[in-house]
Amino acid sequence: MNNFKKFVSLVLVVLIGMTLLVGCSSDESSQESSNNNTDSSSNESKNVTLRFMWWGGDDRHKATLDAIDLYMQKNPNVKIDAEYSGIDGYLQKLVTQLSGNTAADIIQIDVTWIPELAAQGDFFADLSQQKSIDTTTFDQNFLKQYSYLNDKLIGLPTGINASALLYNKDFFAKYGIDDKTVWNWDNLAETAKQVHQKDKNAYLLNFDATVSYYMVKAYVIQRTGNYWVNDDYSLGFDKQVLTDAFTYLDQLFKNGGIQPFSESAPFQGKPEQNPKWLNGELGMLWNWTSMYNVNKANIKNLGIAMIPVAPDAKDTGIIVRPSQLLTINKNSENAEEAAKFINWFFNDPEAAKILKDVRGLPPTETARKILVDNGLLDPALNEATTNATKMMGKPENGISQNQELEKISTDVIQELAYQKLTPEKAADELISRFEQKLSELKDQQK
């Protein structure tokens, strides 16, 4: 018995000791690694390690890794650790790292996260203060609209992304729809109706609740010329306009213009995976130009058109925004080296050639020209983006992109689609829920 006790206590001591030891030793090593950079930079040799975190698919990973390799060849003192992953869990990881102060030096973020991230704190360095970054190659208006936050340039856009209609040319040919149609609300509704009359299994529009929300917003903004929600958290529309938008949507559902949600529900949030769309039984997907390549891989003859615009629209409601931003962590100890890399990443001709359009249509004129000259850019995509930029409406303000408002809207739209609410009731419902949520959000601001 006694022997045994000794044994157990010995095991315990070892156990405790081990955990403490491991704890301590790694504590040191982690401090070491974070101090490492400062030490070496003061050593004049200026060997630095930069962490660069992004998400993407295989093409983006390969191109970015190639670009990093080339940069490291040219700048032997810089080592760049690539931390890349898919989109699953990326934001969750980023937020966790930001709260633990362990985020990478260079971070790719999505433009839709900015309002929510901005509400939480000041995480990103002001790039306009970095002398090594030349931002004159960018369209200044474009930078102002989405990349500035409280007069600070928090990141640089990796690509230009615009709202667009992606359509299946074979579907159009089959149902005798003119490829060159300029869409407005009337001819869209009429065509949608006719397609379904010709073939009960075919629907012109591939809409899920999120896409329907884009549509409702565009419809309303074209009528009002306001923001969806104003900067003072008041609604940018009245009940009449919203009711009209919902009535329009409701008619699309009732006339078979949109595949019923009861059928498309499994593909909510990923309409591009809907087998009916892939098999050419749905004609058109309201989405973003950034989705062009993904859909092009599956649909042989994919066209790209401008979203419907009413002839008397006060604002086109066409959104042109960055696809993502590259930012520098505010707490980065090597912000200068990171800035140099970013400058090279966006402005160097060789980098442009390697990176192609893996992060969307390049935001600088020079990069676009290099791609066009080398035949690396889809002309249809380029043209659609250029046209959208010419016609673009007011940029969206932060509160209009709020995730909670989006949730409320898609909920109400689903209730409309399942005919639990009439358009008028749906408008009432959305307005009352918006007003409650907006007053809460306003309270939090204080």
Partner: protein, 282 residues
């Protein structure tokens, strides 16, 4: 004669039942295997199990991944993380469960309740404080957040499970060992553990597969791609705005399931020998 018939009929029914449900169980695997041989654009288009055209480079290209690290690396990493985690979990959970099941110490009920209650808070809210804690220990970008907690029996599921199994064991054997002068640790080693081999094997299987498949925790704690595990590798190229090579992902899903299947298949055989030793009783 009648009896024989009865038995035959019931055996036939058993087989029909087993095979019918087995199809339901195995269909998804067949689908994934077939998807891994399909051309990429066909995967979402058709439900057919037979590919319109057989593609085999999905396995080769999928294995290569982005070119920086192959799946071989991810497999090795996963083993480095999973094997110690499983061993430590099995040892520590068995010891702790033995303590809970066989001794009456002060605050036992409170401690046990406390242990079970740690299962009841969702990961979403635990995630960040735990991350900050592991950051303070300096364990980020390593497998320590998995291995060291396993050493300290922090998976209540397994402790609770072992407690239930231990308390279902006949007591006579242990009692006779006490009379023979064995101390409690010797009893645990020589009598109790051999008696609950099936439970211990189940524990090892579960912990192996769960750690192998763990995505969220590995994602949060591992930064370097060179340390990625298989489950991270499977999702590292999935993005809504990029062309995803689904057939490669399906191919790697098939490969990544193989170790789990092999482990399960070879481990479950030991279920037979469970309680053979009860014969000693007389």
């Amino acid at each position: 004669m009648n009896d024989l018939k009865k038995i035959n009929v019931s055996i036939i029914f058993t087989y029909i039942f087993l095979i019918a449900f087995a199809l339901l169980m195995v269909y998804p695997l067949l689908w994934v295997v077939s998807a891994s041989f399909k051309p990429n654009e066909d995967i979402f288009k058709s439900l057919n199990l037979i590919p319109s055209r057989v593609v085999t480079d999905s396995y080769i290209n999928g294995w290569k991944g982005t070119g920086q690290y192959t799946f071989g690396r991810f497999f090795l990493n996963t083993f480095i993380m999973v094997v110690p985690t499983v061993i430590f979990t099995v040892v520590s959970s068995t010891v702790v469960a033995y303590g809970f099941a066989r001794f009456n110490f002060p605050f036992k009920k409170v401690l046990f309740a406390l242990m079970i209650s740690t299962l009841m808070l969702p990961d979403s809210v635990i995630l960040i404080p735990r991350y900050i804690l592991f950051n303070r220990f300096g364990w980020l970008d390593s497998y320590k957040p998995f291995i060291i907690p396993a050493l300290l029996a922090t998976a209540p599921f397994f402790v609770f499970m072992m407690v239930q199994f231990l308390r279902g064991l006949p007591k006579e054997l242990e009692e006779s060992a006490v009379i023979d002068g064995c101390n409690s640790f010797q009893i645990l080693l020589r009598i109790t553990i051999p008696l609950c081999i099936p439970a211990i094997i189940s524990m090892a299987i579960f912990q192996f597969i769960w750690t192998w498949n763990d995505f969220l925790n590995t994602l949060i704690y591992i930064n370097s791609v060179s340390k990625y595990t298989v489950s991270l590798g499977l999702r590292m190229s999935i993005d809504a705005t990029s062309v995803v090579n689904w057939n490669q992902i399906m191919a790697m899903t098939v490969i990544s399931m193989l170790p789990c299947i092999v482990i399960f298949f070879s481990a479950q055989k030991y279920f037979v020998e469970g309680i053979a030793t009860t014969g000693l009783k007389g």
